[in-house]
């Protein structure tokens, strides 16, 4: 039941990847990253409910307490990734008059094409990594790899500091998708910790961006290259 529920959300996440790579307005990119984080968070309890456990391993009924924890975590993820982090980033940029335009080293269209090629490669590569048959939808691992690759592309090809922070958040989204497969190994506590780390990380990065904007008003990463070999 829930395997079918997971697939469309993953496809949506992948489509959002393309949107993130191709859009030239920073505002829309931040919104897209927020939406991606939010829908992945919403998928969290559903995904946990439905994966068939490996044969021979006893299935414990999901108790009420576990369900409450799952739902709380999902709400926390949606809140932080969908609302708090975008707000932090918008606030970090508001104090300096940043032009809300994405600046890319190789241009937006080549980046989008690289992302598309990367997604195709992820879909192909995931065939060679063994997945337990019938365990889950075949889209989780490619989606995870493709989203991580999108994050990397953003980190490498973008000039503005805030785009790089967004790339980091997308990378974390990609890793989170993979974490959906691992119920027992990554219990709610660890997920909370990862979320907290992400939040504090973006918070500190936002402060740094703020300071960067104050020191260099038109900051791109070319300005941040005083320290050289």
């Amino acid at each position: 039941m829930s395997i079918q529920a997971v697939d469309p959300v993953l496809v949506l996440a992948l489509v959002l990847n393309f949107f993130i790579l191709a859009n030239s307005q920073l505002r829309m990119v931040v919104f897209a990253v927020a939406i991606q984080g939010a829908i992945l968070g919403l998928m969290y309890p559903i995904a946990h409910q439905g994966f068939n456990p490996p044969a021979g391993v006893a299935v414990e009924a999901i108790g009420a307490l576990t369900l409450v924890r799952l739902v709380l975590l999902a709400m926390a993820i949606v809140l932080i990734k969908g609302y708090v982090i975008p707000r932090l980033l918008f606030r970090a940029m508001r104090e300096a008059n940043i032009i809300w335009h994405v600046e890319s080293v190789i241009g937006l269209t080549p980046t989008l094409l690289l992302g598309a090629v990367g997604t195709a490669l992820a879909l192909a590569f995931a065939q060679s990594l063994p997945i337990k048959p019938g365990h889950t939808s075949t889209l989780v691992i490619p989606a995870s790899l493709a989203t991580a690759l999108t994050g990397f592309l953003m980190l490498i090809t973008r000039r503005k500091a805030i785009s790089q922070v967004l790339g980091y958040v997308v990378l974390e989204n990609g890793i989170f998708i993979f974490g959906l497969l691992l119920i027992e190994a990554v219990p709610v506590l660890v997920e909370f910790g990862v979320l907290l780390d992400l939040f504090v990380g973006v918070f500190v990065m936002g402060i740094i961006i703020n300071h960067v904007n104050r020191s260099f008003p038109a900051a791109t990463s070319e300005h941040l290259s005083m320290l050289r070999e």
């Binding site: 489509v15 393309f18 191709a22 269209t109 989008l112 195709a120 879909l123 065939q127 075949t138």
Partner: protein
Amino acid sequence: MNTILLNMIHVAVVLTVPPLLLGVINKTKAWFAGRRGPPVLQPYYDLRKLIVKGSVFSETTTWVFRFGPVVGLATALVAAAIIPLGQRDAPLSFVGDMILFAYVLSLGRFFTMAAALDTGSAFEGMGSAREATYGCLAEPVLLFGLLVLAKVSMMAGVSESLSMNGMLGESLTKEWSVAGASMLLVLISWFIVLLVENSRIPFDDPNTHLELTMIHEVMVLDHCGPALAMILYGAAVRLFIFAALVVRLAIPLQSGFALWNWGLFLVGVLAVAVGVGIVESIMARLRLTVIPNLLVGAGVLVAFGLVLVLSH
């Protein structure tokens, strides 16, 4: 029902309905702007006015200039005969006709561009260059979409899977259930192609009077009289074709009653026209440098749909 009767209905619809779509779009835009707007049947009146006018041809033009509008209209009509509209079979269908479909539309575009270049004027040349660029980016989207449909219909076990009849025919419901995500992506991309091919906002403003911002309008700047009527009518038929593609893809409902099918189809096409009107009203035209991004984005979407289908 009788095949000949159905084909006659098909041809009749193709010949009469397209200008209505243009009228509906204009009416929708006017309604959004708080105006009453021109009557819905205004394009018909325009066509009648243009046909009775005389023509003036520039001395720098050759037969290509006179031939362009004719080819444009002819190709549009042929393409309209290939796709199944409200019924099961299109009048002109065979295995592999989707390739003919794509190429016939390209032929029409080519002759429009050639006719524009034939005038030797700077504006038309600029329009042709832009049209060529966007055509290069938009046609792969159409073709990839057709590829996806072919593969999906093969997966769904359709008998004539390589003809438009088969792909957009009665097993659409099955196709949607087999590869819903890919079909959705194709649908979105084809709507974008509709906007590009028919020079709608956000790619081209049909109401602009500034030649430097035009793409399609500037190519037909020098035509007048019956030639302009053919161009206007041909453009309407092209809009109808793409709207029909979108409607067939989006509404996979089929029943035994021909009247019901046709009625649903016409309602769908009018809804697409209203949708285009809404898009034109709420968006502004994009910067010219950003348009290739959007087209490549549409291409990537449909390529992704193809990869999804292939990896099943």
